[in-house]
Point group: C2
Chain length 786, copies 2
Amino acid sequence: MIESSDQAVTLTSPTALPKAGSFLWNRRMLLQITARGYAQAQAMWPDPVKFATGPAWEGKTFMQPEQNYYAHHPGRFFYLQDRDRDALCSLPYEPVRASFASFRFRAETDRVQWQLGWKGLELNLSVQLPEDDPVELWQLTLHNPGNETRRLKLVPYIPLGYRSWMAQSAQFDETLNGVLSEATAPYQRLQDYPDSQAQPVYRYLLADQAPSSWSGCRVAFEGEGGLHNPDALRQAQLDNQPARYDEPLATMQFEPVLPPGGRVTLRFAIGMAKQRDEIETLRQRYLMTPEGFEQAQAGLRNYLSPGKGRVQAQSPDPELDRFSNLWLPRQIHYHVALNRMTGDPQTRNYLQDWIGANTLTGGADPQVLINALSQQHASGEMPDGIRLHEQAQLQYINQVPHTDHGIWLPLALKAYLDESNDYALLDQDCPFADGSHATVAEHLDRAMQYHLAQRDERGLCYIQQGDWCDPMNMVGHKGKGVSGWLTLALAYALRQWAEILAAWPQPARAEHYQHLADQLNQVANAQLWDGHWYARGINDEGHAFGVASNHEGRIYLNPQSWALLSGAPDPHQAQRLLASVDEQLGTPYGVQMLAPAYTGMNEGIGRLTQKYPGTGENGSIYNHAAMFWVYALYQQRMGDQAFSRLRELLPGTEPETAQRHGQLPLFLPNYYRGAFSQYPDSAGRSSGLFQTGTAAWYGRILMEQLYGLRGERQGLRIDPQLPSHWPEARVTRDFRGAIIEVHYRRDPHCEAMRVCYLGQALQDNLLQAIQPGSHYPLEVVLPEAG
Amino acid sequence: MIESSDQAVTLTSPTALPKAGSFLWNRRMLLQITARGYAQAQAMWPDPVKFATGPAWEGKTFMQPEQNYYAHHPGRFFYLQDRDRDALCSLPYEPVRASFASFRFRAETDRVQWQLGWKGLELNLSVQLPEDDPVELWQLTLHNPGNETRRLKLVPYIPLGYRSWMAQSAQFDETLNGVLSEATAPYQRLQDYPDSQAQPVYRYLLADQAPSSWSGCRVAFEGEGGLHNPDALRQAQLDNQPARYDEPLATMQFEPVLPPGGRVTLRFAIGMAKQRDEIETLRQRYLMTPEGFEQAQAGLRNYLSPGKGRVQAQSPDPELDRFSNLWLPRQIHYHVALNRMTGDPQTRNYLQDWIGANTLTGGADPQVLINALSQQHASGEMPDGIRLHEQAQLQYINQVPHTDHGIWLPLALKAYLDESNDYALLDQDCPFADGSHATVAEHLDRAMQYHLAQRDERGLCYIQQGDWCDPMNMVGHKGKGVSGWLTLALAYALRQWAEILAAWPQPARAEHYQHLADQLNQVANAQLWDGHWYARGINDEGHAFGVASNHEGRIYLNPQSWALLSGAPDPHQAQRLLASVDEQLGTPYGVQMLAPAYTGMNEGIGRLTQKYPGTGENGSIYNHAAMFWVYALYQQRMGDQAFSRLRELLPGTEPETAQRHGQLPLFLPNYYRGAFSQYPDSAGRSSGLFQTGTAAWYGRILMEQLYGLRGERQGLRIDPQLPSHWPEARVTRDFRGAIIEVHYRRDPHCEAMRVCYLGQALQDNLLQAIQPGSHYPLEVVLPEAG
């Protein structure tokens, strides 16, 4: 059902995983497409604009978990009829849902293709994107390996949905050789007019050859037959009728004739534009030039090239390798390159995605940190979102006051410095939002001081309307509630900042922050320790939650992970919380974020408790949180347990796991359904959403913890924690311009790890004085697991 | 295809008018349903809440013109399978679209029913509403007139759509004997939480008998078969599976067995609720009581009874009679009773709907005027919308400053006083928005003075971001642009106010306002007369529009109508503008609001010009405006021309007209497509929207102008303008508690109209000293048309 290679993941059934698909992006746009042909394209304009919607007026909203598909969902469909037989299918599968003799949906990093067999024909359909333009490039090759001439009718069908109640239309444009749809962005208030004018008014489907007929009107095309058997295909030709305020559509008819052994290729461009001229330009560039598609692909590959992983591994786990060598860096790169398709990413996302950039060959751009810090208030407070351009519309979520954003600064900076050694950045001058200036280090100091000040009389951090956990909006909205996690996270952030300062080196300042971190840990132990684990918080009414006396939400994962990171628990406490997490949060599909999931509103916690049990933050296997846990386990040097938790989050390739997950192993989803004790049947189901902090942390953990190739001020620290059942592994690691080649192997005679460079044992397992452009083969000999 | 009787309109084909349907409402809710079964239900909660949406996240928006339907559109579907034959259909038609031996969709004023013949069975499906509750009551009777026992499977299928990305579910509830769906209203900002809590979380489908199985999950039900042939119906039983964050659905299976001659009836309740208890109450009330449906119907009839027309006519035009005696008052009553399903109707709509109330037996409630005036600013300015309850959300459209709202006060008051003679209302004390007080008359004075003050140095009225014409938002947003229509409308409003004052009587004050009106008319003639008609306005840049030198929007209807009403034109001007309107705005389907329709944005006019040519305000046959024109023609005593314009707006019953209009003759739509010279093929197509000021004016014109039975201070003025081809007519007219029975007839010997009461000629054709409860038979003898 799923075939995985080093270049591609292939799904051989259109029905086994009905929501599975892939996504492609370039500098401007994102295309999500299922193996069955439902699709959603968006381009930054400069905020995201959808290519099409359904036939009703759709809300402007973020990507939806477990997206619903339905007959009239936007998609890319190619009806194919055999004119001499009474046979109709549609490529890739929807909406006719005909049986194919063979079906192969093949996701590559820069292309999606389908190889289909139907009625003796061999069909190859593919889509790719160019580097810069908001246009999809489709190619369909029809091959007749048989002995009879085949007279076909091919009708690409691109539904555009209900575009506007103001004005919408679609008609054939002779010059462009395609169907062009125009629509007026609806608005009512005069102040919304300029925004409406910035929108791309055009949608189009162009072809590289002239159609015999076309249509612009959905209802007329479909008729009484329905989308699975449209009336228009029972006529010799399409109706050549425009949509005039009707629901628009882009469709054209072609009539390829394939002699025995014959082959024909058609190319199409699908996209959006503000000016008609832009379309003409793109047509010339891609459709009218024989090498247009090839150049586009080369351009895209060039654009994607900084998104390769710094680590390429060959381990005893080829599935893990295929994912982590190819797809994981791709997912991380998507975040880094497109900022989650938003003009104002949440600050914590922006900074954590930047952590991910360190795992890519392209590296992390220090300007990201500068962008974020230049929107910091002089008080030290970080804003909820970082505006990437002046017109960026403030998302709703960034209108909710969350209290954690500054926490991520030292973590992100530490990851960057470990990789780059760019300590000069700390001295760089950077403005605050009010125009005043300070060094980056001073920005960090103020952020830490701001967080330290935002604490109650017990020393616990106020939570206001949420911390890392967005929908925890009623814990502290009255000004008193505190976050257990945030208190521990602040302790960890202070430790990270102290470590940066120590390495800079600024030892006295480092010690000061380390001391503050220790104090916070004491506070946490005094106020949050519940006997077997740490509480998630104490709300405005003084009720602790995430504690054993709760019936729902008794235990939350994050406070335990971050307590291990901050160093709060003593060994006895650590043992207890480790056991509690395994026992209460562990499932066969991953570790849950909390349990039991809430089944009804708790007005002392908020929106979180209104989410469906086992979805999102309400007790799903929320992979971002699971990553913190894995990271903490590695910090505890519990390599086997950590690996097991890491590994179980990988989307499955075996039929049973794949069907449970419902997605292909191309990305880590933001969650798998949890609430395992309550709803075991749906547990493990993927959200299908690939925007998640999970990816960055997964990449970082593989590089720095599993393979233990972590940068330090002086060089590269070799400190692997391979799972004990791995006898061997090989890794190539790009580091500060050099190539490090590591061969790990276990040796029954080895008692403690040895790292050898050119036959010499490395002192302290630290590779120093690394020369850019050089090549460092390392032998890492490990003891057998005991 | 369409059969029309005094009780019902029947459509005998499911495919001839694919969007045609009917609507039902009660005190709380509105149900729109097509003959094919697509449906949209909304209830006031206290702002409108939809029962269901499509499978994507839909925008919260007003009713859409020319609504698109598609496979997964919300609807009410009843799959019916013959278990001994391989036969499947769905009632009433969607989504299977099977052939019926007979199909009759019958719209009654308080019920919708379908009479269907299928495979030898007689099927009767109906829906009605109770008086107060937001619930639909469905009944299905299956009758087997044949000689064989029929074993059937009946599966009512109610799609609920994508209800929430927070939480959604659906499952069978044993106690309620139905499928119950729960969902959390999504929100992100804490301040939106209370609103979200006020929402009805439940949707349900209940039955009066136990199902054999059920399902709550759409995707599983549908499977690969699609909605037209769902997988679930190929199994012996439904899956009994709940939706758990899946797209919810309400469906149950029943297995009626009909012996020869047998008959079975099933009853269902479909609705929404905030508390589960409410559902139990409704179940007891309607499903568990044998007479529940009958009592509901009686209740609804009682609720609808004030919505009968004051005029019942028998004319030579039975189609007009059927419409105006039954459906027109019903449409007017809908507006009066539900305020267009909004919590803050636009002020002009609220006042004009109140004009309509005068044509209903229930009469116009003076409290409506008081409500409006109590939100008037002390300056005399009226707000853009009248909030009907404290939580009412201000609609976008009411955030746009429009300048016409006060104009409607004297017009609405005049209509009310003519009918009620309630002149005491003028002395009633009424607050302003700031809490200060004044009499109603003083409120009117201040409104007129406010409008008089809002004029430029030429004496023309500023338009700001629109007047009656909402989307004319760029004519005067910079503060200079003026409205030609509004200037003339103010003159007419002043005249109306003067007439009220003269009748009160306050002759000096009346003369003052009459004088001001005359002055305005002079201004209009000096500034707006364009040689053959009046200009629509002059924008911020000083450019006149609606003038002969324009290529698009050369002539607008409204300034011409209101000039005739205000008395601005001299006879020569009147003749010219009458000819211009006929020539440039007339079409076979009605008179257009402007021509030629704009084909692109004009930033000196605004949003209007961005609408699709021939739709809405951009040159459609906008019936509200057409009514002003008809009213003006009657004022000009051009009865034949007026009648012809009135009559052509009636939705057609002949196949050709009906197919062009695309709706049933149950309501006047807000527009028919215009742009006749540009797009003749689509001209005449109905918007399908029944919320429109058209209805009130149509009713008033019939009563006061066509039949000429108009109230005055002293009694009832008889002043008909029957079309010259009518030899005779009979009308019953409810007036101030008395019943007036009028028999009009033409007599070749008559030279001037005579009105006789009990054989005596009425002086001045005025019936005076009318006694409530009395009965006045009148004979109106008219000359033959010359």
